[in-house]
């Protein structure tokens, strides 16, 4: 579909960031890689402004929580190059103790609410964000409800436990 092959994107990123692009995979053809909090701003800026790649469209920012991992929180960016019609997915993993990551609002205004939503649900602190307050949940909420430790329902309920379903 895309006019630029995934391998070419990887080559360009590696040339620029000297092999600091990790864990490259292509689930269903969508190039996915990991990078670090130190590099994420530069990687996003490079992808956005590179005259060949032109990932000028920020599709989405979200997060995921893997409580059993050391770096438990993953921030996930989906970028889209409208001219080349190709997408990439970038992941940055950070710890729950230090959930800081630079904001993308300096590159895209649209990142503002996406980051607020991610902060609201996962407690990820986007440093440099102009107005990082809760957006969908009530203001006086004290927890970050999409983290895995928060149950959907009364934790004393046992009738919906997975072991009843063979898992």
């Amino acid at each position: 579909m895309g006019k630029i092959a995934n391998q070419e994107i990887i080559d360009r990123l590696n040339a620029k960031f000297s092999q600091q692009i990790e864990t490259i995979s292509e689930p269903y053809g969508l190039l996915t890689f990991e990078t670090s909090t130190a590099l994420i701003s530069e990687v996003l800026a490079f992808l956005k402004t590179d005259p060949e790649l032109k990932f000028n469209y920020l599709t989405d920012i979200t997060a995921v929580h893997y409580p059993e991992k050391k770096e438990a929180l993953g921030v996930i960016y989906h970028l889209h190059s409208l001219t080349n019609n190709v997408r990439v997915r970038i992941k940055v993993f950070i710890t729950t103790a230090n959930p800081n990551i630079p904001t993308a609002t300096t590159l895209w205004e649209g990142a503002n609410w996406m980051e607020r939503e991610t902060f609201d649900f996962f407690g990820i602190n986007f440093t440099g964000h102009p107005n990082l307050v809760r957006i969908l949940n009530v203001d006086d909420m004290t927890v970050f409800p999409m983290r895995r430790e928060y149950q959907l329902e009364d934790p004393n309920r046992i009738d919906k436990k997975d072991y009843f379903f063979g898992r």
């Binding site: 579909m1 689930p27 269903y28 969508l30 996915t32 000028n56 469209y57 920020l58 599709t59 989405d60 979200t62 995921v64 929580h65 996930i76 989906h78 409208l82 019609n85 997408r87 997915r89 895209w108 205004e109 649209g110 990142a111 503002n112 609410w113 996406m114 939503e117 649900f121 102009p130 107005n131 307050v133 809760r134 957006i135 969908l136 949940n137 009530v138 203001d139 006086d140 409800p145 999409m146 959907l152 329902e153 919906k160 997975d162 379903f165 063979g166 898992r167």
Partner: protein, 411 residues
């Protein structure tokens, strides 16, 4: 764009020293206001009729769909997607089904794809009908709205014939449809295809060259393409600015590549452009439905789901009488089916733009994480900044033409 209110101490605006004489008024537009068509609150700072700055407060109907989805098997998540953009819920339903089908690698029969295209384009028409009808009401023209609502009713009757429901449809299943379209459904689609064009033509005659309407809408909320892309806009409002991004054309799903249709684009991105563009999209949707009806005649009859017994819920008669169907039913409901441990992003062109489903699967009974990229949520964040400097009445029609659906905004 306004710079005055930039901070909220949780959602209460902080006024900087932009009002030394105390001339400005604070106006709460919403949360429930007859002109906003949904639960939207905007705290506006007004200088007479003119908005100086504003802050949007959202989340009034937040229902934690992403959290609920982590506790539900795949086939039960369809009903959650209904309640996001409830003006075009079949698109949401099928977007979700196609996401799971992509995850599982299911090859869909062409006939199912075409049936889906028909339903999705019909629901796109309902979505645009609502938006343009309401825009007419907000500019003071009630007649067009009534004409259109009658046609919307006919589309809902088609949905009723296909799945039994009208608004929150829960239409289809993972792997296809729960039952084939009956003859009455096809007859109703044919009737709609014959009856709708004159009505839409009449509606366009009422508005397109109407001087009052043009003066009311033209130039209001004009957005240039760079700003729109910077704010990650998608859908009709992005195309009205002149960017030809449509998921149906960029990444065809459900065999959209088999159809001949155009992606209309606007020039200035104002309310008038969005209105014209939505009308044009309805004509294109009609074209697609007509083509799909033609293509269906060449497809073998009676195929309404893919042959994937391990993922497609069998009909109840079979479950009660057939051992294999019972086993599959049990395995699907109890989550015994193995699914790939990977992640998938699938986008469809919803009524308001790119509706994305990002699914991280760990092979379990439920998604490990499911994120909805909701176009209304992302489109709406520009509303408060762009309202700065507008007249209040212009801000109202601007909101109508953004077509923000509260359910999709808050999820």
């Amino acid at each position: 764009m306004s710079k005055f209110i930039t901070e909220t101490t949780p959602n209460r605006p902080v006024y900087y020293d932009n009002d030394p004489q105390g001339d400005l008024t604070t106006l709460n537009l919403g949360p429930t206001h007859p002109a906003t068509h949904g639960v939207f609150q905007n705290v506006l700072q007004m200088d007479g009729e003119r908005i100086v700055s504003g802050v949007s407060t959202i989340g009034y109907i937040h229902r934690a769909f992403e959290k609920i989805a982590e506790h539900r098997p795949f086939y039960q998540i369809t009903t959650l997607t209904d309640r996001m953009n409830y003006c075009s819920s079949p698109i949401n339903n099928m977007g979700w089904h196609m996401t799971v089908e992509k995850l599982l690698g299911i090859e869909m029969p062409k006939r199912v794809d075409y049936l889906r295209v028909i339903v999705m384009e019909l629901s796109r028409i309902t979505d645009h009908l609502i938006c343009n009808g309401i825009l007419g009401v907000d500019t003071g023209a009630f007649t067009g709205f009534l004409y259109l609502m009658e046609e919307r009713e006919h589309i809902y009757e088609i949905f009723e014939e296909i799945c039994g429901a009208r608004l929150t449809t829960n239409i289809g299943r993972i792997g296809g449809f729960e039952r084939d379209f009956n003859d009455i459904a096809f007859a109703k689609i044919e009737k709609f295809l014959a009856k709708f064009p004159p009505v839409l033509k009449e509606f366009e005659t009422l508005f397109n060259r109407n001087r009052i309407f043009i003066e009311r809408t033209s130039g209001v909320g004009a957005v240039d393409p760079e700003t729109a892309l910077n704010y990650s806009w998608s859908g009709p409002i992005l195309r009205a600015t002149g960017v030809d991004y449509d998921v149906r054309a960029n990444e065809p799903y459900s065999s959209y590549q088999d159809f001949d249709f155009e992606i209309p684009v606007g020039t200035t991105g104002d309310v008038y452009d969005r209105f014209i563009l939505r009308n044009e999209e309805m004509w294109q949707s009609l074209r697609i439905i007509e083509q799909a009806m033609e293509k269906l005649k060449k497809e073998p009859k009676g195929i309404f789901h893919a042959d994937v017994p391990e993922f497609y819920l069998p009909p109840k008669e079979k479950v009660y009488n057939n051992m294999e169907a019972l086993i599959y039913h049990f395995k699907i409901v109890m989550g015994e089916v193995d699914t790939p441990k990977t992640e998938v992003y699938h986008a469809v062109e919803g009524g308001n733009g790119e509706l994305g489903f990002y699914l991280i699967n760990d092979g379990g009974r439920t998604p490990y994480r499911l994120h909805f990229r909701r176009p209304s949520f992302i489109n709406y964040q520009m509303y408060a900044p762009m309202s700065g400097g507008m007249l209040l009445s212009d801000a109202i029609i601007n909101m109508s033409s953004l077509n923000i659906i509260a359910g999709e905004l808050d999820a």
